[in-house]
Amino acid sequence: MNHLWLFLLDTAGRMTSWDFWAAYLPYYLIGAVVTIELTVVAVISGTLLGLLAALAKIGAAKTLLTAGLKRLASLYTWAIRGTPLLVQIYLVHFGLNQFDITLSRFESGAIALSVNAGAYITEIIRAGILSIDKGQMEAARALGMSYAKAMRRVIIPQAYRRLTPPLINEFVALLKDSSLVSVIGLVELMRTARIYSSSTFRPFDAFLLAALIYLLLTTVFTTIGNYVEKRLEVYEK
């Protein structure tokens, strides 16, 4: 192990940026895979969480249960959107320790990111659903559909077409925000860059390579998103 460090230090001075990148790219890619995993988990669970919270917020508070859920959903988005992600990550990873709950770095990171993303996605989905003309719900109800069926068959299918652009933005933001999870020591892309920055004394090369990989990932994400958006656009002028 010590030999490896010495080797890196010794050669670093004579390397060009290209040499550095060529030498360390494989390690960065391993970190990037963790970043992608983290983002995918947060996108999926954050979207589910957001959909549930959005439906709770929009629905009528007719029964004690729905009224309670509505309150809970409001509290959730208020608290999460009003506090820094960094604090949330610490609370999950270190805070829960106080109650003898020990999570792996990946678990903590994934939970914090999902819960955080869920709150923002709630507002995106809520705005999307509310943007659907009221006449749509009325027409569905007039046919005899229940509220739930009208949501499922008429409102949500229309909303999600409108939701794709803001959701893609949110997913891209999430990918970038996942770099914050490096603070609890999870070796994702950002942490990888920090490790090689200090071990090689080439912080510019080390962080620039991370930046380029982030840029590549967000560009791919956006491109896929735009493609999906186009495919969904058929019926709207």
Binding site: G135, E138, R141, A142, L143, M145, Y235
Partner: protein
């Protein structure tokens, strides 16, 4: 005497402090075509929307097909909400046609007509498709089955919306100014479809300012003003010798335009 399709007794409706419907008593007999007219803001849409409980009423009672709408009065006088499923089932027997069509934009004309059949009436898809096709052919849209609403003219959209409502085999049809969002040259095609529906014996409540339609098809015309039914008469009498000054003024304005 047969049970009326719609029976409204002492209906009151408020939007906040705005008194929108005042002591409405109204019955619609089976097969009757009732035309409702009156100035903008007089409560015509609200009246229709109360009939299928898109709007809850504050006082009074409404029965459709003998069933209570929205609230049921217990023998002890207390009011309890009608069960959700019962209300949905009743709504599926009441067709509604909106001023702005309200077709589902993510579905083709065919799918729009099939939707209620499949998801509410649980008709098998193949059967629903055949029925939807027949209905769209009947309203003259046999060649537009696969068009999305955005690819149809206003008149075609409204005819699709009528087909969608008819597909449910309703016992009552509510029309809320079905032609007022249309370009003048498209009004005729929609009125023609409505006349066909009326001739087949459908019970209809129609909010419209198309006085030609009212004269020809209505069994009765009511005039609403500021939330009240001010006048109620057979069309001949309504148009030739209205009783109220406000009705006369309204008719003069409508007929002049």
């Amino acid at each position: 005497m047969t049970e009326p399709v719609v029976r409204m007794k002492g209906v009151e409706k408020y939007f906040g402090s705005l008194h929108v419907l005042k002591n409405i008593h109204l019955s619609v007999a089976p097969g009757e075509v009732l035309v409702i007219c009156g100035p903008s803001g007089s409560g015509k849409s609200t009246l229709l929307r109360c009939v299928n409980h898109l709007e809850p009423i504050d006082e009074g009672e409404i029965f459709v097909l003998g069933q209570p709408v929205g609230f049921r009065t217990l023998p002890n006088g207390r009011k309890v909400p009608v069960k959700e499923q019962d209300m949905n089932r009743l709504r599926s027997q009441i067709g509604m046609v909106f001023q702005r069509f309200n077709l589902f934009p993510h579905m083709t004309a065919l799918e729009n007509v099939m939707e209620g059949l499949v998801t509410v009436k649980k008709v098998p898809r193949d059967e629903a498709r055949e029925k939807a096709k027949r209905l769209l052919e009947k309203v003259g849209l046999g060649d537009k089955l696969q068009n999305y609403p955005s690819q149809l003219s206003g008149g075609q959209q409204q005819r699709t919306a009528i087909a969608r409502a008819l597909g449910m085999e309703p016992k009552l049809m509510l029309f809320d100014e079905p032609t007022s969002a249309l370009d003048p040259e498209l009004i005729g095609e929609v009125l023609a479809v409505m006349k066909d529906v009326a001739k087949e014996g459908m019970t209809m409540m129609v909010v419209t300012h198309e006085m030609g339609f009212a004269r020809e098809m209505a069994d009765r015309v009511i005039f609403m003003d500021q939330g009240e039914i001010l006048e109620e008469a057979e069309p001949e009498k309504f148009f030739t010798e209205p009783e109220h000054e406000r009705t006369k003024a309204f008719l003069r304005r409508i007929l002049a335009s």
